[in-house]
Amino acid sequence: MGSTDKLPTSKPLEGIRVLDSTYVFALPYAGGLLADLGADVIKVEGPGRPDVSRTGGFAGCFPDGEVGADWWNRASTYNLLHRGKRSLTLDLTKPEARQIFQELVAISDVVMENYTPRVMKNWGLDYASLRDIKPDLIMVSNTGYGHGDGPYSEYPAQATTQEGTHGHCWVSGYVGGPPSKVGASYVDFLSTWSAIFAISAALRYRNRTGKGQWVDLAMYQSGAMFISEYIMDYMVNGRLGERIGNRHPQRAPQGCYPAKGQDQWVVLSVGSDQQWEALAKLMGRPDLLADGRFATLSGRQEHHDELDTAIAQWTVGHDRYALMEKLQGVGIAASPVFLNRDTHLDPHFKARGFLETATFPEERDIGTRPFVGRPYRFSRSDVSIQGPAPAFGQDNQDIITQLLGAPSGEYETLVEEGTVASAPTRGEPNVPGTFEEQIAMGRLAGRDEDYKAKLGIP
């Protein structure tokens, strides 16, 4: 990066307050990234509606598999998504909670929510209502199919099922096989990133004009946007789109091949005749080079299966990192297939500092953990994970009595009536069984018992 110095106070969103009344992955993650950028992000959850990233199958893992007494604060996914925020619990089904929410809106810059369209309206917390309280408010709503009068607008949705509706499954899968879903949530993140784009642009616009606005995100719409070329190919050429597995429409050979060792893989992609020549030489296969069937891109595409067999015979005898180095050394795009361990230990990732650590207060008993940072660096602005995710409702009293200046006694009443809480009244921890059981079931591939030493964390 350039030689420019960091400015003394240069967190891009310093002084910006975000009210984050969102659940699951998409906007909660956006809230975490806004906190990285320096915003004061207040996560608002119902006492009886803890985020699913704390509970159930979406919660990920507990530290060393230990559920713990305050399990709702310990799940890995929750702690990644909500880094650097404050936590307020509010039962928004109650008018006094909605009153507090509105008071917070009046002193916030941004509100984010992801209820189905009718919910915020019924509560009088939709954009039209909140704009009366805070005229230059920026509000972001994220739904599966988008607000408006479309036929699916009220349909419930999450990324897993939307990966089918927005068209990605149709174009994903092994050659000749059925449609496939990727191994994690996908379309959520398109809303996460769209929110960062829209909020930053809207804050700039507000600073210039004094005007706020409403951002209406639909995960379905973003997902469809990302297969635009298939839609165009249908509309113009009548082509229906096909599944080509790990291949490329205009490069060959390209694929994922076994490397030496158990479940070790390498990918490579050949983009020119020169690269093909270099590959055949590396493989020690002058016979392939002499074979006219493979001399052109279209020939290599036509005989791709045969090339795959030959390449796999070569790769399987070599270490995956050594393969990357050899292939890259002759200008061929290649990489090992990273496991989650590699994300932590690979020298390039370490040099880039992509993962950032958060250290939890001692009473949380989570220790210090690395988390995914952000896919961009700024040469001047100071951006990083600001601290661990908060415990459930840990900032209730501060926010209600200090920030909002509620009269004495009010906070205690809210606690008594269950309007705010420091532990969820509903939800169960997701306890998937011991590591040994999960490995036996094929739910885990294995476990590094010495992972903390490998990561250099206590």
Partner: protein
């Protein structure tokens, strides 16, 4: 009506690929004045399919079209003798430069961030590359499949009995374009607030890696390694075949497990052995058989409508054809009509998200090669027609 949310922002897009082009397009979609700067041979993306009527003509790449909407276009050969000086002149008046060359290439031409910053301290330069600007792999060759491999998603996509599987299409490039637009907007906010520019370094591999929220934190919380799913007994939550296609269903939403059992008309699903996620995993093969049997004669659209009205999390696998005709996307004004100088009238996927005050607008089709040379060089920069002719002769443009 107000202009676009980024109205007044001047962007030079010298990227040749999908990611950088899509970043600049998004800035243009929301109001920025974007000028695509191409070598006289045309950006690489002009040679990428699909093509209009399958004709591989440089003005008929549909991929170039969708990645370059809302831009004007000029030609400029950065490696020509007068190329760098001319580019600097353009960059003096720009707010943003988007580029996707290998790190350090532009510096060798005297057009790196430090060079441009010295003539325009407020400039935001957004570099979109596979591996980022620094680190041991920064000079490596990147490709779409490499992004998924190094981003770790491939290790858990596909099934355990086969090789890891990449996403369909060019998801990683779009992901990088969107993140680059977001990071650029952050830098523009800082530029407006503090009057300073900066270099923004976006890595496509890290965009993919950023989606690994469960996978990454599994290792840092437990040391466990996540595998691909087993081929059998794991179909719930994946595409399941029905009479005329595939559907997907996931537990949760507004439906209880008993509701789901009722939907499939399989009372046996209410038995203890299917009552939670862990048990459903253990009895996955039996679960798959029950579900697939229940829907094998049913149509996907009926299943989708009925399940969604029961508040179930339920999807169907739509084809590009179905998306092209989708009434929901229509209701969102997702598609817009354009008139392309060579391809003629076309409908294009256009709107990423909706804004209440400064809505999306489609102001330009993707430019033909050098379409706005006179517009930009003569009308805006004040270059004479003679000078322009000389630049053409010397191969500068």
């Amino acid at each position: 009506m107000d202009g676009g949310i980024l109205e007044g922002v001047k962007v030079l897009d010298i990227s040749q690929d999908i990611a950088g082009s899509f970043c600049a397009r998004l800035l243009g979609d929301y109001g920025a004045d974007v000028v695509k700067v191409e070598p006289s041979s045309g950006a690489d993306l002009r040679r990428m399919g699909p093509f209009f009527k399958d004709d591989p003509h440089p003005e008929k790449s549909l991929f170039f079209l969708i990645a370059n909407l809302n831009k004007r276009g000029i030609t400029l050969n950065l490696e020509a003798l007068e190329g760098p000086a001319l580019f600097k002149k353009l960059a003096e008046g720009a707010d943003v430069v988007v580029e996707s060359y290998k790190p350090s290439y532009l510096s060798t031409l005297g057009l790196g961030y430090d060079d441009l910053e010295s003539i325009n301290p407020g400039l935001v330069m957004t570099s979109v590359t596979h591996f980022g600007q620094n680190g041991p792999y920064s000079q490596y060759e990147g490709e779409e499949i490499v992004d998924y491999a190094m981003g770790a998603i491939m290790s858990i996509s596909g099934t355990a009995d086969r090789e890891p599987l990449k996403h369909g299409g060019f998801q990683a490039q779009y992901e990088a374009g969107l993140n680059a637009a977001g990071a650029t907007a952050v830098a523009l906010l800082v530029q407006t607030n503090l009057g300073v520019g900066q270099h923004v370094d976006v890595s496509t591999v890290e965009c993919v890696s950023s989606t690994m929220i469960g996978n990454q934190s599994m290792y840092s919380f437990t040391g466990a390694i996540q595998p691909r799913r087993k081929p059998l007994g794991t179909q719930f939550g994946q595409p399941m075949p029905c009479a005329d296609g595939w559907v997907l269903n996931q537990a949760g939403g507004g439906a209880t497990w008993d509701d789901i059992a009722d939907f499939y008309e399989q009372p046996i699903l209410k038995e203890h052995r299917f009552s939670n996620q862990t048990l459903r995993n253990e009895n996955g093969e039996e679960l798959d058989a029950l579900l697939v049997d229940a829907i094998k004669d049913k149509g996907k659209w009926d299943l989708f409508a009925k399940a969604s009205k029961m508040r179930m999390l339920f999807g169907l696998v739509q084809t590009p054809e179905e998306l092209a005709r989708c009434p929901q996307l229509e209701s969102r004004d997702f598609y817009r009509d354009i008139e392309h100088p060579v391809m003629g009238p076309l409908k294009v996927p256009a709107v990423l998200f909706n804004l209440s005050l400064t809505p999306y607008s489609l102001r330009h089709c993707a430019p033909t090669l050098g379409q706005h040379n006179t517009d930009v060089y003569c009308n805006e920069m004040g270059t004479s027609e003679d000078e322009l002719a000389r630049w053409r002769e010397t191969g500068t443009i």
